[in-house]
Symmetry: C2
Subunit: 249 residues, 2 copies
């Protein structure tokens, strides 16, 4: 079985690296950004191209959701399987006469950050049993958490991930903006952040809630609002309002 | 030196436990809630009372910010040091003729969750050098991160903590609400959440941002908005707007 990865971003890089680590043959990384492709190619010893897409059995499209449809049209081969890695798109977004699939790794990928691939949940959807078995086999070489998932369910998995990861990271960025403004080193907050996350491995997040909003500490809420403005103030009010609704305060 | 802890909530419990672990003598836990005090007393083998406040050199008030002022008035002794554990209140909120201080542990405390006290940053503010030295000595027995901090700075430390901890936990609670609604096990998201936090030990949060908003993936943003309502939708819009402002999208 010959596989090509299409894309040169964070997901493409980590998928290629995971394949490499598990000795799953990879015949090419293909994309538009020759500089990024070259880096991946050199690190993983895999050929790359920006022009000639290799003939393969499996193409994994790792590009931003905006581009999946366009990119899927460069594959003109019919007897092959094409999978995208998007959490939110249906497999039917792929436009070609090949067999279609979704191969969604639930993780946040940054090139500069090494990952343990073994625990990443993979969600797979295919057109037929054989393709499913094939993608399960590949994903199972990378991770111990491989599952089937419909597009309907995957949309909600992605949405949950946006709250639990993308928005959480943005809160860290806003928090750092506040601490930077007062020359307070952000690493003071790392034990607190680590504990916040450790907690929810043992306790339901709803039961783990602390802070002025859940205590309905009106004076502190007012004081904090005076220290904030613009987007930070909007986040502060929105989050507190939502906390107070959840606990019916 | 004789110390009394006032309060029976999460902070009081963990402060008493930290004192206990480090063999710092604790003569009493005092408060209103006899049931909770009794539990602490039995676990840590420290006397408790709801009526007779012991004569001590140091009182540490571990009650919610709303109650600090009232509670501080039950201490009628003059020749003693009284510290509160609030991140946002000035030491002058304490109403009595004793010496005043702030003794602020930057952490999220839940009774049901064990903690490593050794890394908790403690922020201390006192009226004089001698009290400062005394509180530094105590805090340094508990943690390796003990610092002086003015009230002005401490307010911002607390505010940063609300973003980095309280709001982050609420996002986990909202995320779980979404995944629960589709019968998707929340533990699928734990590797993603763990990685989100691991990342910011190595990368600036601003550089670690991923997700549809920072990619300006308008179609996905619209799709997600259709899946949400009420507070979740408000959070979704507010966070995305703030992300897009931060990256000038």
């Amino acid at each position: 079985m010959q596989t090509v990865i299409i894309g040169s971003g964070n997901v493409a890089y980590h998928m290629a690296k995971a394949f490499n680590l598990k000795n799953i043959p990879l015949m090419q990384v293909f994309g538009r950004n020759s500089e990024e492709l070259k880096k991946i190619s050199e690190e993983l010893n895999v050929p790359y191209s920006t022009e000639h897409l290799q003939d393969a059995d499996l193409y994994i499209i790792c590009v931003s959701d905006n581009s999946v449809e366009n990119v899927s049209q460069i594959i003109t081969k019919k007897d092959c399987l094409v999978a995208h890695t998007s959490g939110s798109l249906p497999k039917e977004i792929l436009k070609g006469e090949y067999r279609k699939a979704s191969f969604y790794p639930l993780q946040t990928f940054s090139k500069s950050k090494e990952l343990d691939y073994g625990k990443i949940p993979f969600f797979i959807e295919t057109e037929n049993e054989q393709d499913q078995q094939f993608l399960f086999e590949i994903a199972s070489k990378i991770s111990e958490n491989v599952m089937e998932s419909s597009h309907e369910k995957r949309k909600y998995i992605h949405l949950t991930a946006v709250f639990a990861c993308n928005f959480v990271n943005h809160l860290f960025a806003k928090a750092k903006e506040i601490s930077d403004s007062q020359e307070i080193p952000f690493n003071y907050f790392l034990p607190l952040i680590d504990e916040t996350v450790k907690k929810i491995h043992d306790i339901e997040p709803k039961a783990a809630q602390t802070g002025p909003a859940v205590r309905n500490d009106v004076k502190i809420l007012e004081l904090h609002e005076q220290l904030l403005k613009d987007e930070s103030l909007k986040i502060y009010k929105t989050m507190n309002h939502s906390i107070q609704k959840m606990y019916e305060l």
